[in-house]
């Protein structure tokens, strides 16, 4: 391609200092995308588990199959999922 005939902006290819780093999830900063996923789901897991425990002690919501305590169990799942990603992709981990 003749770049002189191409009026589009010419980017600085590989200008980013991290363009060739092996870490596939890097955002260009020290925090991984998966770390953001981890802390958000971890926080939601904690909130849901706490809510589920509260519901267990006489505050069951008026929803179908509430007796299965879906809030608590889904909270446990999200908490474990979030904990795994938060730890595995924590800042500073090689």
């Amino acid at each position: 391609m003749d770049e002189t005939q191409d009026p589009k902006p010419h980017p600085h290819v590989n200008a980013s200092p991290v363009a060739h780093q092996p870490e596939p999830t890097a955002t260009g900063e020290s925090l991984s995308i998966w770390f953001f996923v981890g802390i958000l789901t971890l926080a939601y897991g904690i909130v849901l588990v706490a809510t589920g425990v509260y519901e267990h002690f006489g505050h069951q919501p008026d929803t179908v199959l509430a007796n299965l305590q879906p809030t608590f169990w889904w909270g446990v799942f999200l908490l474990l999922f979030g904990l795994f990603y938060t730890v595995k992709f924590r800042p500073g981990k090689a």
Binding site: P9, V13, L40, V64, L78
Partner: protein, 575 residues
């Protein structure tokens, strides 16, 4: 789908959020704004701002790729379609996506990637010249801004109907947040939020099919219940009712599904809509760029679990006396009677199964979906405006930093125009169907132009331009024709029994055929372009570089075969 009109007229909110739900929503907003500020420092060049530095892994690009299409408007609309039409709605997630996504990854991505183009209009410029780029860029820029406004308005109306929130509050908070994080972090910020949104959608919606199937007593019982409620067993099959237009509630024929949806509409959207292709262009190497759509396709196959199944569960629920729990109706009937419409099925099922906490998670997922839809449109608009309109026609010699600044400002201005279009929709919601239809005018012929450009070296610049223009005009003409004279549908869809859903499929098919025929004829009448001018752009004159895969497990083609085998198995199981 027509999510908004029925919701617009509903007067009573469906539920209210508890403090714990508001906490979950607030955590999401806090994180996305933080991400915007956090990544701002690494979006200094145009490559970083518009293409996320081309350093995304296959998984991130793949999830972002599929997430860009997983907006709340889609989720609510197709859940409603599942209630209305049954499993036929699944075709839009399987045959209407999977083959095209794999084709993009294995066949087309090498050309997009090695041409180092920044956009689909940019590829058209390299292959067919300024004319084709101008048609594509201007139409795409206009559509993305309008679609962003549609998302904004839809979010505000859904929040008003479900939660009783003020429309102005929802629109300005949503638009302000999206404008802030896209302006600061560009595509990088949008991609991170799309990956978050993908996880949130699953976290917020997965409990509906799980609890719904438990309540129904399993899939077999659900099918039985649906057959009892609707009076036949046709709603839980994918293909058996497609032998004739009148045999299925959608009024379509298998040729429309296979060729119209599975080939033209699907390939047009997934391979040439820059909003989704931009995500894959951010991949950090050729193998990642080829793998990303394959990974996206694998996840796309699972989406019916949280979209189609909730609609089917609502269809199969019945009271102890055997009467259906829900009797949802079309938008027009809902507007007249105040009943719930098809498109409300997802919020209704969310409220049925999810108490405090889970409800907040579900609502956050919907909000994230709407905001992600806005961000996707605005970031794609910003790129096409800066590279293919401003940089191509208005200011060709500016510095790289000037283009980044233009990208940031065009994000803000684009969002303001979106807000204006959202207010326009507020006062004339009937326009929304036309705005959503506009995309279909350009996508099918654009696919014809791009695929001929990539695979047929004899295609000329004039052929590409006139083919694209003729296909687009043909599509608009057919739309206007059927809109003004509904009986014309029998000619477009080639059957007097065709229903409106068939119109889109056959209109796309005809406009693609017209584009391809005109491109071929005009090209054959013109002078062939020399191979040297086509290097890096066209199959046959471009040596495809090795993608670096050494083992079978690293080869994108191997995983594409795995995905297509699963695709066929699913279609056979639910035949």
């Amino acid at each position: 789908m027509h999510v908004v009109p029925a919701l617009w007229l509903a007067s009573n909110q469906l539920t209210r959020l508890s403090p714990v739900d508001i906490l979950i929503l607030a955590l999401y907003f806090a994180l996305v704004v933080f991400i915007g500020f956090y990544v701002k420092g690494s979006t200094n060049t145009s490559e970083e701002f518009f293409l996320a530095g081309r350093e995304m892994s296959a998984w991130i690009a793949g999830l972002s790729f599929v997430s860009a299409n997983l907006g709340s408007l889609e989720l609510m609309g197709w859940a409603g379609a599942a209630y209305e039409y049954g499993m036929l709605a699944t075709h839009w997630y399987w045959i209407g996506a999977i083959p095209a996504m794999l084709f993009l990854g294995i066949v087309m991505m090498p050309f997009y990637y090695i041409s180092k183009t920044h956009s689909v209009p940019g590829y058209l410029h390299l292959r067919f010249g300024e004319g084709a780029r101008a048609v594509s860029a201007i139409s795409f820029g206009l559509m993305t801004i309008l679609m962003s406004g549609v998302n904004m308005f839809a979010m505000a109306v859904v929040m008003q109907t479900v939660l009783g929130w003020n429309i102005n509050f929802s629109m300005w908070v949503g638009a302000g947040t999206v404008a802030l994080y896209v302006m600061l972090g560009g595509l990088r910020s949008a991609i991170i939020n799309e990956v978050l949104q993908f996880v949130l959608i699953w976290a917020g919606a997965a409990m509906i099919p799980l609890l719904g199937l438990i309540e129904a007593g399993g899939w077999t019982n659900l099918k039985h219940n649906i057959a009892t409620n609707v009076g036949n067993a046709n709603y839980t099959h994918l293909w058996t009712t497609l032998g004739h237009f009148r045999d299925n509630p959608m009024g379509v024929h298998w040729t429309g599904i296979v060729f119209g949806l599975g080939f033209v509409v699907s390939f047009g959207y997934w391979t040439t809509d820059f909003l989704v292709v931009q995500r894959v262009l951010s991949a950090n190497n050729l193998r990642a760029a080829k793998m990303a759509p394959v990974i996206g396709a694998a996840f796309k196959m699972a989406v019916p679990l949280i979209v189609i199944v909730p609609g089917l569960i609502a269809l199969g629920l019945h009271n102890t006396d055997g009467t259906p729990v829900y009797h949802l109706v079309s938008d027009s009937v809902a507007q007249a009677t105040g009943q719930h419409s098809y498109d409300q099925v997802l919020p209704l099922m969310l409220i049925r199964y999810c108490g405090p906490g889970l409800l907040g998670l579900g609502i956050t997922a919907l909000v994230a979906g709407f905001m992600s839809g806005m961000a996707g449109n605005v970031s794609a608009f910003s790129t096409v405006w800066t590279y293919d309109i401003y940089g191509a026609f208005l200011n060709k010699k500016a510095t790289d930093s000037h283009y980044v600044t233009m990208g940031r400002w065009s994000t803000v201005i684009g969002m303001l125009v979106s807000i204006a279009s959202a207010y326009l929709l507020e006062h004339a919601s009937g326009i929304m169907d036309y705005v959503q239809a506009l995309f279909s005018f350009f996508i099918a012929p654009l696919f014809g132009t791009v695929v001929l450009g990539m695979l047929w070296k004899r295609a000329t610049k004039a052929g590409g331009f006139w083919g694209l223009l003729a296909g687009t005009i043909a599509s608009i003409t057919m739309f206007v024709w059927v809109h003004n004279a509904p009986s014309a549908l029998r000619y477009v869809a080639m059957s007097p029994d065709a229903q409106p859903m068939a119109e889109n499929l056959y209109r796309a098919l005809w406009s693609w055929i017209i584009c391809v025929v005109v491109t071929i004829v005009v090209s054959l009448l013109g002078k062939q372009m020399p191979d040297t001018a086509l290097a890096g752009l066209v199959y046959g004159v471009t040596p495809i570089p090795d993608d670096g895969a050494k083992t079978l497990w690293e080869k994108p083609a191997f995983w594409a075969v795995v995905v297509i085998v699963v695709f066929f198995v699913l279609n056979i199981v639910f035949f």
